[in-house]
Amino acid sequence: MYQVQTQQFSGPLEKLLELIEAKKLDITTISLAEVTNDFLSYIEILRNQIPSSGEEEGLSPRILSDFLIVASHLVLIKSKELLPDISFTPDEQEDIVDLERRLKMYSALKPLFLLLRTSWQTASPSFSREFMKDLPPIFYPPTTLAVSHLETALGNLLQSLGSLVVETEHIEKQLINLEEKISELSSKIAHGISHFSQVTSASPKGELIVLFLALLHLLRDQTIRVKQEGLFGEISMEKITEQ
């Protein structure tokens, strides 16, 4: 199920790199701003790959959320380009610098991924022996183990499985946080735009508004759709249902 999807969809950094390379650009904030539109369009394509209920293959909301986080950083960069006077928090500034750096790092590591893939496919394996292979059957019961220890161990184990649910809820929360952050940013940009007075839909500012709306739209759908179906829901498939 997921196998199909991970082969079809590269991760957000890889996609970004691909878009930049396609335009024969270097990794700079300027080129990142340049590919923002393309990246958002790609997310739109991904979003349409989300399976309707019953289908086994397709994109997981988890992966879409990874793309959305990167998209939000891109929009930051883009807004800086379109509205140079806009003020960012130190965190937002850091996000901008950070994305560029991570992309460079990812680009430097791509040959490594290829190298490991090739080794994995071509290397001759070594083999080890089984633990105490030659030992005749024996009975070595643990001296201090009581029945209650078994019950406790099982109880703890099952409880910790419950935290898988937390993981999914967490992603949902993360997306909501992201949405709030972008809303904040929108109003900041609206404020910035008011400084420039004459905004038309053809202007770069108009383009920015469209970008934000697109991102918000993607996000809103996303947060609503993340679902948890029971204790093991997100392992057995945290599926998105097309309405």
Binding site: M1, Y2, Q3, T6, F127, R129, E130, F131, M132, K133, D134, L135, P137, I138, F139, Y140, P141, P142, T143, T144, L145, A146, V147, S148, H149, L150, E151, A153, L154, N156, L157, L158, L161, L231, F232, I235, S236
Partner: protein
């Protein structure tokens, strides 16, 4: 190292000795002459020659292994002079108390057994092959093969050791059976994917014993 041995044997003979060592090391059980002939692509006479040369290298005082001949089959074992020493080593390493991971695995086998390794792995979120092997060696767990996989359950000896007459006497046994049903009952392969990015079953592939 004994370098004089090398002078007589050709390099191709050397690699045959090395290959034989690797085969016997891994296989564990006696390997027949026929199988050696087939694997190394050599004649019966050549096998005799390789065996003789191998035995000679094992005589070196730096070697801890011995070639055991069983009829027309061969097997690597540890030299008898190390037996007392190894016995205490085994006892020591088995005498150690079970690690939390081992207790956890054991509790799954006890409450949810018969259970496959894939199911245990899934619930624990980590590979359990070494843990299961450890419990097998200690005689706490046993396995039966079912299709192309193994089912694990606790041994009667272990139950007796715990002072239990039957599995059902484990505390809250009934309640945990309910939990178990919730996990496993519907459609096993669908509800328990072992892995996320590839749903292929991870099974007892590391056990060379399940040849």
């Amino acid at each position: 190292m004994d370098n004089e041995i090398n002078t007589q044997t050709t390099s191709s003979a050397s690699s045959h000795i090395a290959a034989l060592e690797a085969i016997l090391f891994l296989y564990g059980e006696p390997v027949s002459r026929d199988m050696i002939m087939r694997l190394l692509q050599v004649s019966s006479e050549q096998v005799s020659e390789i065996i003789r040369a191998f035995q000679e290298t094992l005589m070196d005082s730096q070697r801890g292994l011995l070639l055991l001949e069983k009829g027309d089959a061969y097997m690597l074992i540890t030299k008898p002079q190390f037996a007392p020493f190894l016995e205490s080593f085994v006892k020591d390493s088995l005498k150690e108390e079970l690690t939390p991971s081992a207790v956890e695995t054991l509790s799954l086998v006890a409450y949810f057994g018969p259970i496959t390794r894939a199911q245990i792995d899934y619930i624990r979120g980590v590979n359990s092959s070494f843990m299961l092997r450890n419990l097998l060696v200690r005689g706490l767990v046993e396995r039966t093969s079912k299709g192309n996989t193994y089912l694990y359950e606790v041994t009667t000896d272990f139950l007796t050791h715990l002072g239990l007459a039957r599995l059902e006497d484990l505390p809250q046994y009934g309640q945990y059976q309910e939990t178990r049903k919730n996990f496993f009952e519907s459609d096993e392969t669908a509800s328990i994917p072992v892995t996320i990015d590839s749903e292929k079953k991870v099974d007892d592939h590391l056990d060379t014993s399940c040849i």
